[in-house]
Symmetry: C2
Subunit: 326 residues, 2 copies
DNA sequence: ATGAAAGCGCTAACAA
DNA sequence: TTGTTAGCGCTTTCAT
């Protein structure tokens, strides 16, 4: 048997609206009645039906979260912070995995729309999908990556790449390789810092991966194939994230390459993976990113529309560990 | 501007109910009209409002998921499988972190009720909360742990403990310690296997932790304090999960204790942590657990009530790695 | 095959 | 201060 407001009203001997008022504006209700109603609410452990509320008020206190995968610890940390801050603010999270696919991401977003979510947070795979959210006037932010004409919170990846290049140069390593998407800002920063100091990146020493997040299995295959083609190893590797670094290190160790003696490894994200494996990694202050992002989202939600704030950028730092200390 | 069924009906020049029929029982609608309506649905990218559907049909296609934390990779793997299987079956997941607290868990469950979820999946902290779900007649299952008179999917922890004890004995290590909750089945199995073979567990060599999931910080403190009190180290440690093993190993390494030479470490869950750190660990077949659990939940959901299936048990296996090989 | 109308549980405008 | 009522977007029964 369903415990509805109607039931509470009957038990308490008042009308529906009185119960509703006790819940929303108790100051407008006779004290005695407030007491009786509250007693019955407690007695029955009445929980208001949020679907009905949502229908009536056309906000749902739901936030759709779409992330590319749940194997990258970086996304998990984001999710963890998101859940906490959302709950604190009275929102619930609907979680979707996009598996790095723009099509699945589009389906996720449509599902969020069906659920009448108040806002969307997306670690996005596709600019198209972001435009869709914008055209539908749905409050949203993207995390981690930047997209034109929308709201994103991200660390300055280019600066992160520069930090890594500087550190490698300081360690006397200038014959360097990169593994990750070619058009990534972190690679551009890495490259330009090297050129500026009179060095360069040999692109034959790089693996340029597709722009979509890869499964661990795909990563491993790329690396295996690549290492097989090398006649000599670079002085150091810069990888696009910790998961890639993890797979790389496994492959290097399998080939009896010593880290950091024979070659060094630096990566991006500073997740628990790099902490465990003692990998030098670029730290993105996750809590700060999530808090700022949520604030911008709430601003849009309270105006009930998408609002263009632009990109909010946070400077990363480099955490130096065993993998790059000579 | 909201894109509702009414708008589609107007554009297509038919009534509301016809649009609804096109969506639900198109075989009962004139072919031509189906075409026109579908054209407009596509044109407007109409997405039905699930809150309204939910209100009307009193099912929500929502599943509430409450897990104790997002730092234990074991729970993440569960979550990952859950999201995929739920989406595949047309359900969405509302995610809550209970932070190991029965009170927060109770709040989470009440929130699920407010959301009118069709079912609840909980990696539970409290038998009381499970009873609450049962009394409310809400379809639910618990994962990982068993509770009386409800539905749980779990691996046989006792058997897992036995496997670890057997393995230690085979390695010639019988002076053993345990870190985890005292009343845990895996400890009971560990202990009884040792006794059976004529050995024992020195309880002074154990850390009995509270029954609630601990933060990494708390774990570290327990271990630090404990190791400080030891005059000599046990032959081997059995830890309640990989996270504890990780903290233990860090502390042992800081004290220059060699693993596996000076002491061995075996743990539980076989998450990515134990894979990375090469820790022997008891594997719980997560995919199997999640699939079986979801099946039992769907059974209840289709009957629209809680149904007592009992505990469904899966036998774990031991994955042997460097941390216990002499 | 189609439309009108009632109702899911709630809120809010209106009337009393 | 309180109750009555309309309506949020949808499904479904009942007429037609």
């Amino acid at each position: 048997m369903k415990i509805t407001m109607k039931l509470v009203a009957e038990k308490a001997g008042v009308s529906l609206s009185t119960v509703s008022r006790v819940l929303n504006t108790p100051e407008n209700v006779d004290e005695e009645k407030v007491k009786v109603v509250r007693k019955w609410i407690k007695e029955l452990n009445y929980q208001p039906n949020l679907a009905a509320q949502s229908l009536k008020k056309s906000n749902s206190f739901l936030i759709g979260v779409s992330i590319p995968n749940l194997t990258n610890p970086y996304f998990i940390e984001i999710l963890d912070h998101l859940e906490k801050i959302a709950t604190k603010n009275g929102f619930n999270i609907i979680l979707h995995n996009s598996q790095g696919s723009p099509e699945i991401e589009f389906e996720n977003i449509n599902n969020f729309i069906r659920r009448n979510v108040d806002g969307v947070i997306v670690v996005a795979n596709s600019a198209e999908n972001i435009r869709y959210l914008k055209n539908r006037n749905i409050p949203h932010i993207t995390l981690t990556n930047q997209f034109p004409e929308t709201n994103s919170i991200s660390t300055n990846h280019r600066y992160g790449g520069e930090l890594v290049a500087k550190h490698f140069i300081e360690q006397g390593r200038v014959n360097l390789a990169y593994i990750g998407p070619e058009n990534d800002e972190k690679y551009i920063g890495f490259q330009s810092e090297l050129y500026e100091k009179g060095f360069g990146v040999d692109e034959n020493m790089c693996i340029f991966t597709p722009n979509t997040p890869l499964s661990n299995f795909e990563i491993k295959n790329y690396i295996k194939k690549f290492l097989g083609t090398l006649s000599k190893y670079p002085d150091g590797f810069f990888t696009t994230n910790d998961t890639v670094a993890y797979e790389l290190i496994k492959e290097l160790e399998a080939r009896d390459i010593n880290i950091p003696k024979d070659t060094m490894v630096a990566s991006f994200d500073n997740t628990i993976l790099s902490q465990i494996l003692k990998i030098t990694s670029v730290n993105q202050p996750i809590q700060e990113i999530v808090e700022k992002g949520f604030e911008i989202l709430l601003n849009q939600i309270s105006e009930e529309r998408f609002y263009h704030f632009g990109n909010f950028e946070i400077l990363p730092s480099l955490v130096i560990r065993r993998s790059t200390i000579k």
